[in-house]
Symmetry: C2
Subunit: 242 residues, 2 copies
DNA sequence: GAACACACTCTTGAATACAAGATGGCGTGC
DNA sequence: GCACGCCATCTTGTATTCAAGAGTGTGTTC
């Protein structure tokens, strides 16, 4: 048979453009599969299986899996396969609390500053718009919501803090998205972000902190309810005990 | 670069006791070499070289190196070797600031709590001792110092926060140790930790926060001076530009 | 003498081969 | 019919092999 199994990757290969690391591609794709519930929490799988699915060898697959493990998305069982980490509410709540800590620190610093970082302008353009111009698609607003909080932290200039916060946010994303399936949360997000932003711009530190805290706590509480419900109704036969 | 690096691992191999992962062992050993300046910031090396030194193949070495990369200790240059990350003061300062944020949040929570977590008892036993019983060895006190701050965060019960904080602390450790080469800092550490601990035990939140902040800032400032001096005096020919 | 080009070596990235242990099913003994 | 034990298979961990590009040094040419 022909050697046509070679994927037509080279489509847009102008300039030097590195093939971008097989391991990296697999890492991204696996994470996406987890986020999209293609791989469900508790699911078990083997390196060979993933390698076959990705049309690669085990080597880059293992590299990707180890990264995902360090990120907290999967676990390896010694000589007994991999597993998507089951949902752990305590962990999610801890991550939410960590977000509160990081973002409050960021806001506090932002309010102390005289000049406004450029990131705040971007946020103004997105969130301080007339109601008629508000976006309504849940997933879009969900992504913008994450970006809002991420940019608040980025704006205060500490790259390490921003990195950690981005990781925490990504880790929560899988359940935070569920929060935006209701229209009420979408419009509440617009009004809450607007309030927070205005408080920051007016250097009303304490007010901004309170608003931010309750905004995140609301999200946390909602997600908790939704996720509980989801876990009860979906796949009641799935038994993650082992 | 002694060839006697073959460890007598099998000494205590009773029960099942897994050989503990070659990759893990290499990871730990490499990190130690970096911390002990056996591998200097800016040094370049190849996977093959490390593999030979560790008496293993490239596979576990690569796994260890990728972990170290994600931890922020080394960098890989595409098909051109690995490099111990050169010192970057901005990063160190950002990590110090991140510590301040996390530890202040922890202390705030500890002060709000009625019951004292058991970790505080351990800390009392170590730091609230008569002057005569104080330890004087710099490296020992340095390790205890890191443990002090780590336990403060652990005590407030958020495991994710504690994990991040531990990572940040470890990352700073390489230069923080230099702070404890002077006796003055050692005794200052005892008195400052004592003050902080007492303030927490008496639920004097604001006082504890101020003390903690200035304690960390002092450490940050000292380390900055020492490290600058070290970098100037040692190996002035090393050029890490590229 | 200087500059350019070629080739060789060394590097990481990926695939394959080998090793050892965990798991589950099947068969046998009671 | 049930329980125990063995074996076949599947899993990850590690070593080795193959591939391709980056960098360097040398030789040649102007």
């Amino acid at each position: 048979m022909s050697a046509s199994s070679k994927p037509p990757v080279a489509s847009g290969l102008r300039r030097k453009e590195r093939p971008e690391n097989l391991a990296e591609r697999i890492y991204i794709q696996l994470k996406q599969e987890i986020f999209e519930f293609h791989l469900l929490p508790g699911d078990r799988f083997s390196e060979t299986e993933v390698a076959a699915r990705m049309a690669a060898s085990r080597t880059p697959v293992r590299e990707a899996l180890y990264r995902l493990q360090r990120d907290g998305y999967v676990d390896v069982h010694f000589r007994s396969g991999w597993q998507v980490k089951p949902f752990d509410f305590r962990t999610f709540e801890e991550l939410y609390d960590l977000r509160v800590v990081l973002e409050c620190a960021a806001v506090r610093r932002l309010c102390e500053r005289e000049r406004e970082p450029s990131q705040l302008d971007d946020l103004k353009r997105i969130w301080l718009v007339p109601e008629a111009e508000r976006l309504t698609d849940g997933q879009t607003v969900s992504a913008l919501d994450e970006r809002f909080h991420t940019m608040l932290v980025e704006a205060c200039g500490n790259r390490e803090m921003a990195l950690i916060h981005a990781q925490v946010s990504e880790r929560i994303r899988i359940i935070r998205r569920l929060d935006f399936t209701k229209d009420a949360r979408v419009s509440a997000t617009y009004s809450e972000h607007g309030q927070i932003l205005r408080a920051i711009l007016q250097r009303r530190s304490e007010e901004a902190l309170l608003l931010l805290k309750s905004h995140i706590e609301a999200s946390k509480a909602e997600v908790r309810k939704i996720t509980l419900h989801m876990l009860h109704s979906a796949r009641p036969q799935s038994d993650t005990s082992d």
